[in-house]
Symmetry: C2
Subunit: 196 residues, 2 copies
């Protein structure tokens, strides 16, 4: 990795941790620079503004989350539904291990920034759309293989699963418990996807 790439990714990595903990508005550029051990001039070499930094951070988070999902989606020992169900279980367990701090960085930014900055909103919406697309392909496969009810409207179901999961993360954070995941798991995988 070149020095250039290295500085840019140090800033994004340090920024991701701080923004994930404090939110975007409460994060000061100076603390990101201090954490990344980078002078201010370097920051403006890679990012036009704090907004530009935030937009690049969304890509950084999205790539991180995609890698995490792909570990499940690319595990060919699992059925399509086992991949999705396993991914959520793994996320709930990680959230528990972190003491329910942080949660979904995309969801947090969506709620914080969705009504404050239209560039953020559009980019976050696109990240959700990409997540939904992959999940829809797996649900489609599950439906073809008879793993879920044939009467399922795949796109509507994916939208609902995605919303319900983000809400479950919120309830886990506020209750400091994985019980909202357990309810989500039973409702989605034992009721919703099974019912005709």
């Amino acid at each position: 990795m070149s020095r250039e790439m290295d500085t840019r990714s140090s800033i994004l990595k340090a920024g991701a941790q701080i923004v994930h903990r404090k939110g975007f508005n409460a994060t000061g550029l100076q603390e990101v620079l201090d954490a990344a051990r980078v002078p201010k001039g370097s920051f403006y070499h890679y990012f036009k503004s704090k907004e530009d930094f935030g937009l690049q951070l969304i890509d950084y988070f999205a790539a991180y989350l995609k890698d995490m999902r792909d570990r499940f989606y690319e595990d060919h020992t699992l059925s399509p539904i086992e991949k999705i169900r396993g991914l959520y279980r793994w996320q709930a367990e990680s959230f528990l291990r972190s003491g329910f701090k942080g949660g979904c960085p995309i969801g947090n930014l969506a709620l914080e920034m969705g009504d404050r900055n239209d560039k953020f909103r559009k980019k976050l919406n696109q990240v959700f759309a990409d997540m939904k697309k992959t999940m829809a392909a797996h649900l489609e496969q599950a439906r073809e293989q008879g793993e879920i009810s044939g009467s399922i409207d795949v796109h509507e179901t994916v939208d609902f699963i995605m919303s319900s999961w983000e809400g479950a993360l919120m309830q886990m954070k506020v209750s400091k418990s994985t019980s909202p995941h357990e309810v989500f798991d039973r409702m989605v995988f034992e009721r919703l996807l099974r019912s005709a």
Copy 2:
């Protein structure tokens, strides 16, 4: 209303609008005081600290939301399920009218503050618990009256509806569309509550 009560509620009212728009951390006390046209000394007469103000604001939001819900719950021309369904539809329409700004003040604070301040977290969790209690009583009634499937686990279903709704609000904000409400409405009221 006495002058005392009046000043305190002016501060809460002005603070509620600003916090709903910007979040709690990004809200400065000075802008709340300016909006309420109240000097700093008065603020500290009613609130021990910004944290104390935030905790009282949660009660203020909770009371506001309870009044809104009660307009549906106390409408005796509606069945138990019509009350719940109507309440969500009304909220989605209000959110659309506001240009998808703000959303659920309790949900926003839960995601922003749930992992940063344990007093906030506990109070927000209690507000959700109170909302769930009333909804559970209505679902119980609906089950007794045969309006929903008899095999429904009321408490688990209420937990799931509440999570799914908060997630749907997030998706509405980020997509600037009521479509996540429409999906929520069909999934909850036409599938989940009907299926055996």
